[in-house]
Amino acid sequence: MKKIKTLEELEQFRKEIQAQRDPKKTVISICAGTGCLALGSKKIAGAIKEEIQSQGLSLKVELSAIKETGCPGFCERGPIVVIYPEGTCYLGVTVEDVPEIVSKTIANNEIIERLVYKDPDTKERVVKDSEIPFYKKQQRYLLGKNNFIDSKSIEDYIRLGGYSALAKALSAMKPDEVIQEVIDADLRGRGGGGFPAGWKWHSTRNAEGDPKYVICNADEGDPGAFMDRALLEGNPHSVLEGMIIGAYAIGSRDGYIYVRNEYPLAVTNATLALDQAREFGLLGENILGSGFGFDIKIMRGGGAFVCGESSALFASLEGRSGEPRAKYIHATDKGLWDKPTSLNNVETWANVPLIINKGAKWYNGIGTEGSKGTKIFSLVGKISNTGLVEVPMGITLREIIYDIGGGVPGGKKFKAVQTGGPSGGCIPAKHLDTPVDFDELTKLGSMMGSGGMIVMDENNCMVDVANYFLKFLEEESCGKCTPCREGILQMRKILDLITSGEGKEEDLDTLEWMGQAIIDGSLCALGGSAPNPVITTMRYFRDEYEAHIRDKKCPAGVCKALIKFSIDPENCTGCHLCARICPVEAATGEKKEIHTIDDDICIKCRACYEVCKFDAIKIM
């Protein structure tokens, strides 16, 4: 490929590759995101290629039309294979299904009933991907292209209009106009703080100092979150394009992508994308003949949650240990190497081409008063449809959890949803109709964070949940400042006592007092938000705390020291399953007779509870 030197050449190239593809011809998308890869999607892709050859269909389906794509989000039901142009969506595909998929669906457009989506409640079948309830309420401006793009192909990205926003910015907009467009779009940072991206760029552009840096934060350390990963793995060019536009607007020549160390596929795909962009002349000197030059380096993260915090990230990039620095000067004035720096999250960058292409007016038509555009959430926990969902700001929690997520499985009752990552807050059922945006979540004592959403049901003990998050943060605290290092530890010790039945009445006041002082006193936002899970669970589930402290009971039946397992003679059939699974022989009994559990021996491992088919094991 020779360098694309002008805008016209880019459009010419786009036309050529678009012409090579007849939109009526078959395209097969096989998800090669991390989730589906783990379930064997690479083998499935290989098998499909072989089958197409051996069944003599190579003319109908070219090799380049068999795409290993980024994650389309519905990880719960992977591996996912979608056959276009029909959009026939097969879920939970195995290598054994491949011959049939090729002979029936690809050769003859016949649907394989067992592989299509069936609504768990209505049993209604849905063939087209866009009709599946999981996707129906989503607006997938960022993730949607993942289905159509081979994550290792720049041609695929360009075919779908890629780099046209960059061309537009370079040819028709002055840097200030680009910034104004992003300000008008009201794009707020997706990495946690929600700071207006356009204003950040504005400050960086106007700051004194040279060079200026543009950085993409791909450290994504929240447990269970993988939206940045899906974007960087699945559609790396959308992130690059956003960064190049940002660099042009700010007046930067040097960019970095700081990628979490545990994301090898993201590193591979982003590195490849950078090489391709350089080869095509979209990075480097004189991009598209504009005279503007910019390049990006990839750096691997320091391996700690706190490295995603801006000052720690800079320290890590500078080769020092990833520890936050206390300073009251903005990174836009003194960031990386004390030079003006714009640090933005992966998803923030990926929004930029969209805004430039479609305009601020279009963009800020989506969302709420204070939060515009869409947000990707990673929906996990006690939810039927685990996965990534991209929704317009302002959608309610209920719509996300029930309409898209399919609700809580197993007929259990919803209890809370934790938003905002480990230091977010737990929101109870009575607030399910809250519109999801930066400000509303903050009002509830939680936060948007980077978009984690963990659903909990009646079997989750909220004291235990708070303790779990605190333990995570205790381990991730860098240890530099006293309130975070020592304060989280002491809060966690109090929760340990409460969950083991040794809590005292005054503990609740102590926790509340400590929580506020840790938030006020900590050096960085890790400590500054760490008490949130405790504060919100005390606010919304105080009765559970009180039950642990006063009655020495765990209402959800989780805290081992406070529960007893017993067998309900009414329900026990003497099937002996409990006795067989019990690792310590606490559950005993003759076959076909009522069994018993010896509480002195029982280690509360729950194995009998999980295995009993007759609801005979009771937790008290």
Partner: protein, 234 residues
């Protein structure tokens, strides 16, 4: 000079001064454990926090780092501030329940005892030893090991510190006296390592670690006979 209000009083301070320094000059006492004028800003102990109001926004900042600004309103003893300080000193007392300087700060804050069970570590991780060694002495003989609650000050690989010149700066700067240093029979022991002392050619007194004198000669390109005598006999 800029003018600001501190605890209701109008005070003046030179531009670039920290709030802590401005407070000290105005005889307003703010407790602190990790700030040191010879060292770069650190802001880790969080005892020195104050509440500031600027353009109608109120927040808590570390006074040892935050710089004075025209029209700033500072409250060094608001309830939120005192709560942070009380928590910090109680947390530090759990690491070191007995050191007089910590007990004095506690007393001033009206804290009688820590509500947290003591798990004695001695060191309060103010980092002054490490920073002095690196920034003032210029050798980085000691550093941090581990992180979070397991963070501690240590020599590389827990062995005798190869770069240490036994100058004792870490020992002297420690606000809670947990870096022991002893001298006996012409030998200084610090970081569990023996360092021979130089004997004065004239009076025969041991006056400084040999390694430290070597380090100085190297640093300033001094002749080998420099420092053969103690300061009295020179």
């Amino acid at each position: 000079m800029v003018t600001l209000t501190m605890d209701g009083r109008k005070i003046e301070a030179p531009e670039g001064a920290t709030l802590l320094k401005a407070a000290n000059s105005a005889n307003i006492e703010i407790p602190q454990l990790c700030s040191n004028e010879e060292l770069e800003h650190y802001g880790a102990c969080r005892l020195c926090v104050v509440e500031i109001t600027h353009k109608n926004r109120t927040r808590i900042v570390a006074s040892c780092i935050y710089e004075v600004a025209e029209g700033l309103e500072v409250n060094t003893r608001s309830e939120r501030v005192l709560n942070v300080r009380k928590l910090v000193i109680e947390l530090l007392l759990a690491r070191n329940p007995r050191h007089p300087s910590l007990l004095k700060i506690a007393e001033d804050l009206g804290v009688k005892k820590s509500r947290f069970e003591a798990e004695i570590k001695g060191c309060i991780l103010c980092g002054q030893c490490i920073r002095t060694c690196r920034e003032v002495v210029g050798v980085s003989a000691i550093g941090y090991e581990g992180r979070g609650i397991n963070k501690r000050v240590a020599t590389p690989f827990e062995e005798s510190p190869p770069d240490c010149i036994a100058c004792g700066s870490c020992h002297f700067v420690c606000p809670v006296d947990v870096i022991p240093m002893k001298e006996k029979d012409g030998v200084r022991n610090i970081w569990k390592t023996d360092f021979p002392l130089q004997k004065c050619e004239s009076c025969g007194r041991y006056f400084a670690p040999v390694k430290q004198l070597e380090y100085f000669r190297e640093q300033y390109n001094l002749p080998p006979e420099q420092f053969s005598k103690c300061t009295h006999c020179r």
